[in-house]
Symmetry: C2
Subunit: 340 residues, 2 copies
Amino acid sequence: MKKKVTFADIAAETGFSKTTISRYFNHPDTLTTENLKIIEDTVKKLGYRENKLARVLANGKSEIIGVIVPTLYMHYYADLLSHILSAGDAYGYKFLVFCSDENREKEKGYLKELLAYNIEGLLVVSHVTPSQELAKLGIPVVTIEREDKYVNSVNTNNYQGGIDATTLLTEKKCEVLIHINADLKKCSPAYGRIRGFREVSETSGTPYCEYLRKFGNDYQEIRRVLEPVFQDIEEKYAGRKKGIFISNDTVANVFLNMVITKYKMLPEEYYIIGFDDSPISREAVIPFSTIRQDTTALAYSAMDILVKLMNERKKRVPVITKTLEHRVIDTKTIIRGTTK
Amino acid sequence: MKKKVTFADIAAETGFSKTTISRYFNHPDTLTTENLKIIEDTVKKLGYRENKLARVLANGKSEIIGVIVPTLYMHYYADLLSHILSAGDAYGYKFLVFCSDENREKEKGYLKELLAYNIEGLLVVSHVTPSQELAKLGIPVVTIEREDKYVNSVNTNNYQGGIDATTLLTEKKCEVLIHINADLKKCSPAYGRIRGFREVSETSGTPYCEYLRKFGNDYQEIRRVLEPVFQDIEEKYAGRKKGIFISNDTVANVFLNMVITKYKMLPEEYYIIGFDDSPISREAVIPFSTIRQDTTALAYSAMDILVKLMNERKKRVPVITKTLEHRVIDTKTIIRGTTK
């Protein structure tokens, strides 16, 4: 193995002092363009490797952000993580990534690990640690689409999405409005979808009903829970024009497949709209209508808030504000073959 | 903000020396269970936060592994990353994760960053940096399902998967065997699928043909490329029993949807099998047969090799072997509704 190249080696090679070499790495703006170039070439030639960790200890800036996602199995979370990584890249941050599987004890361990690595900030997409606990960590925290009472957050405009999906179904003159969703807590941002559905249903005077069930993440499980729901809808509302708003695209796809398997086509009395604009909504046997969550904007807004908070802490006299920021990202209605 | 708790504080509180407190963190096995308990309680009570970075500088063990994935949009990579994270968890490692978008310049920057953070090892799933360059990084590297001539690797048994998929189609007495795949380089492990297909086709004496195309990652793009392939198959092999082996489930699903859209059902003359066992293979309008890639085993084997290499480096006199390890993970044939 080669001997490690030091500032002293670069100084000897270039003829500059070690202080100048240090300035090259920490305050390059204080050097002339020519001298920058000379040192840069030598750094490359000698194969010097910057030791960021030593710098972190010196100035406390690890340039590392912790991210906790609940799972990467669901496309929504994988997509969100992918946008978070590229958003951080734009700001020069690196990410220590953990997958909690919604296990609170596991997550507790991860949070401890992350703090031990002097992370500058934390993005939490996982749901299991209450925001009150996250607020006590002593570092900037931003959550995305989860309970956020005590921390900064970015959420989808779920309420507007619920309004838009249901309004589309009333415009199609559906005779009964049906909402299929998880049995959400009221503090969950996604509960806004249920509120939006109820409000439009009430206002329009159209009969409506809700199937709020615990679905799980697995295809077989979703199918098992959805089968009796489909049966019930078929029996109760036979012959009536049904407008069905399903809270996520994975479940909407399973429902659509049940309809297609039974009728070999989408009967005119079925109007279906999902939520998320996941790839499955485009890849389904009939690409279906959905409410698009803007995962790019969710990720970039979260990074924007986090970077602001992290930068403030680096100031000589940081002003730690107690006011929380909760940003809301608009949805977009995507019309495809199931609401025509 | 609270004053930072130090070893001195823990020593003062427990009555032990600072050396004993240091031993608690670095060589806990040298303390009695009682003393461990006393110190542990005090550490918790005072709210001491371990500074891992300081330890890294002292002993060079960052406990951080770098991971570079090409994208998280494709379920296969998200799934693989998820298993890598849990495999690392089992060994006590943390992951700095980067998404290269298959951009070589970007990846170059990431590799530099990772080295600056004293990562102990590197897992590369991305395809753009040749293994010859990866081998020069001076740290243990393991790749998964990509060109691996100069580095350790874990790959799927693509050749056996190709054999199994094609054999299944010949057993169904298909009159023509068709393979749809990307136009792969021979050094890519996935090229084994093409070899397997050709070998069984030749041996069985069944007429066969290949459609090797550049598909892209996007649904519309896949559809655009696949449409003329479907037309061609319909024209050339009308009325003949067709066995179609499609190299990934995303493309297989698009193909299946084209067939179903045209015929409102799966005609008896179509036999279709995909590759990967992605969720889409179960969630399709007709859940389809596929060759399962064992992403769990791929991730755990890669970690197993990497941990062995990283541990060797921590020894007082490490033996750096020049012999590379290339592990191969078996596939499994999953029979569903499209090969019955």
